[in-house]
């Protein structure tokens, strides 16, 4: 008789239940009847946040494959924030965009389930399962506006490439299982460490395959091709959701696999990751400069941010891991805020995401323009915001680990990226408005979400020590 411990899965179960309830409510809703479906989603997310806080420092595990160490719980909280922001913004835009609200919230919650399972998984097969749960839900969300040609194209491209990437990941898992006889990260770590001097060539292939699979989900160069199209074609809310949630979950899985089970092989994968990280930062920035669509520009910026995160992963030290966590928190709040504003300014027929559409925004929507400017400054890494501390933290981790050149490349591309963030700011504040229709005004709920997000960005930027402490505590207990 085995005893079962369900502790570690409680946050996940909260979100699953919320997703199922939303789905049932949507099914039994009468035609045209309104239901507070977003509220149901919020309840589930709050439950997940509360249980994550209660599990702090407990190191609970369930079924031997799901772990609730502080690293995972920290990221759970980030993911819950991502989910809450998405729900708050969607509450405002769902009717306008004619999104099927019930299906949207249910898929978003199921995607979050996949993400949370991915950060909590301590077994490669469970991680694959989580990856698929997350990815399939996000493919659906990308194409959720079925009548939009762009969205359908984006979803199809994302699905095809994502399926290939999943196959790579699974192939890597299969090779590791073939050589070590296990899919558990702990067990693989022990066996790989014992043969680190003369590694089995199949393990090297497995490392390569896993690297490809994760690099794809992180949208690292040269596996980034899907992301500009997918980010541009999806509704702006979904773009915000996947550029933060999917990235956070993928980076977490990447970190856990490569810095625990495959850490003994660091001499083999570090050079490859060096090149990937450098290429990601440079290409994301340089191509981003040329874009005229803000969504596409932020897609490339998101690629570049993935590169900075890889810097933290490459540093590999405790500082590096803590910097990843802090960076993910800062980046999630900032990027969701920026995409939230883009979503609110769009309309059903047009996304209004061209650079010219933002001309003179300060005159028509001063509050939104100010918020947008602050989010963009944070993405660019200006001092009073979260982005500055996050970048400083990651670069100092890289320098501490001896990656001087990579830190210099990162710093330079960060400087270049400031150009395209500031271009939007200049457009909003210093250009006269074109004779364009003013988008629909914003009401309470979404603005509250944006305000919370901004509060988070400023808090992390001005008083980061508490969160940095938590991030350090998160990585101290594991790996």
């Amino acid at each position: 008789m085995t005893t079962y411990s369900f502790d570690a899965v409680i946050p996940i179960v909260c979100v699953i239940l919320a997703g199922l309830v939303v789905m049932l409510a949507e099914a039994f809703r009468g035609r045209g009847e309104k239901m507070p479906l977003g509220g149901l989603a919020v309840i589930g997310l709050v439950g997940a946040a509360a249980s994550s806080v209660l599990l702090w420092n407990r190191n609970a595990t369930s079924f031997g494959v799901v772990t609730a160490d502080n690293f995972a719980l920290f990221l759970n909280l980030v993911l819950v924030a991502v989910g809450l922001m998405t729900v708050l913004i969607t509450a405002q835009t769902a009717d306008r965009d004619k999104l099927p609200a019930g299906e949207f919230y249910a898929t978003a919650l199921f995607a979050l389930v996949g993400m949370m399972l991915m950060v909590q998984a301590s077994d490669l097969l469970v991680m694959f399962l989580a990856l698929e749960t997350m990815s399939i839900a996000v493919y659906v969300m990308t194409g959720i506006r079925r009548e939009a040609v762009n969205g359908t194209e984006a979803a199809f491209k994302y699905f095809l490439l994502g399926a290939f990437a999943s196959a790579f990941f699974l192939y890597g898992v299969a090779f590791l299982y073939g050589t070590t006889g296990s899919t558990s990260l702990d067990r693989i770590g022990t066996i790989v460490a014992s043969q680190a001097m003369a590694p089995n060539p199949l393990v090297l292939m497995a490392v390569g395959m896993l690297l490809v699979g994760f690099a794809f989900k992180v949208a690292a160069v040269p596996f980034h091709m899907w992301s500009p199209d997918a980010y541009e074609g999806a509704p702006a809310v979904v773009t915000g959701f996947m550029s933060t949630g999917v990235k956070a979950a993928a980076i977490a899985g990447f970190t856990r696999v490569f810095l625990s089970a495959l850490e003994p092989m660091i001499g083999y994968w570090a050079p490859a990751l060096w090149v990937i990280a450098a290429a990601t930062m440079v290409l994301g920035t340089v191509v981003g400069v040329q874009q005229t669509s803000i969504k596409r520009m932020l897609a490339y910026s998101s690629i570049a941010h993935g590169g900075y995160l890889l810097l933290g992963l490459l540093a590999g030290s405790d500082v590096g891991k803590a910097s990843i966590l802090f960076y993910l928190a800062a980046y999630a709040l900032t990027n969701l805020g920026a995409f939230g504003i883009i979503a609110l300014l769009g309309s059903y027929s047009r996304d209004n995401d061209n650079l010219r559409d933002y001309a003179g925004l300060w005159h028509s929507h001063p509050v939104l323009a100010t918020l947008m400017a602050l989010f963009l400054l944070s993405l660019g890494g200006f001092p009073p915001t979260a982005g500055f501390i996050a970048k400083w933290y990651v670069f100092s981790a890289a320098i501490g680990a001896g990656y001087y050149w990579l830190a210099i490349i990162g710093f330079l591309s960060s400087v270049v990226s400031v150009y395209f963030y500031l271009r939007i700011v200049v457009m909003m504040f210093m250009t006269d408005r074109d004779a364009r229709p003013v988008p629909a005004p914003v009401t309470g709920i979404a603005l509250a979400g944006l305000a919370l997000s901004l509060a988070g960005v400023l808090y992390l930027g001005v008083l980061p020590s508490q969160v940095i402490e938590w991030a350090q505590a998160s990585v101290a207990t594991i790996f």
């Binding site: 085995t2 079962y4 699953i16 199922l20 789905m23 049932l24 949507e26 099914a27 035609r31």
Partner: protein, 135 residues
């Protein structure tokens, strides 16, 4: 082992290419070669309901694939096993209720609430619908 696999795989291709008789006919050269001349176009319009049914079938197929092994090991798994399979089942039932209410299982035009008020299509529309616009 890898070399052996490569030899078997590539060897088969090379030897059949060298030794096998080559006697092409139009039927054999067809893209989908099954020995029969193809009848009509493969790109025919199908009702989306077929795809939905296929997806639902997959769902319930997988459900049964789990239920049989559980039934075989029911005594060993005991109450926790029963609990798990019940939870699994409950989640699928939610999906089932969803597709039922959404009308995936309703076939025929009467099930569409908009149908009664919709204008009847004339013969030309029906013909176009049935044969596609290209013909």
């Amino acid at each position: 082992m890898v070399a052996l696999g490569a030899v078997v795989g590539l060897g088969g291709l090379v030897i059949s290419g060298l030794v096998g008789p080559s006697n092409p006919t139009p039927e054999k050269e067809a893209a989908y070669e099954c020995g029969m001349p193809p009848v009509g176009d493969a790109r025919e319009r199908q009702s989306v309901k077929f795809y939905l049914i296929a997806m639902i079938f997959l769902l319930f197929d997988i459900e049964v694939a789990f239920l049989y092994p559980w039934a075989m090991a029911m005594r060993d798994l005991g109450w926790p096993g029963l609990l798990q399979i019940t939870l699994f089942f409950a989640i699928l039932v939610v999906g089932y209720a969803y597709i039922w209410r959404k009308g995936v299982l309703d076939w025929g035009p009467e099930s569409d609430p908009d149908y009664k008020h919709a204008p009847r299509p004339g013969p030309a529309v029906i013909k176009r619908y049935r044969y596609g616009t290209r013909h």
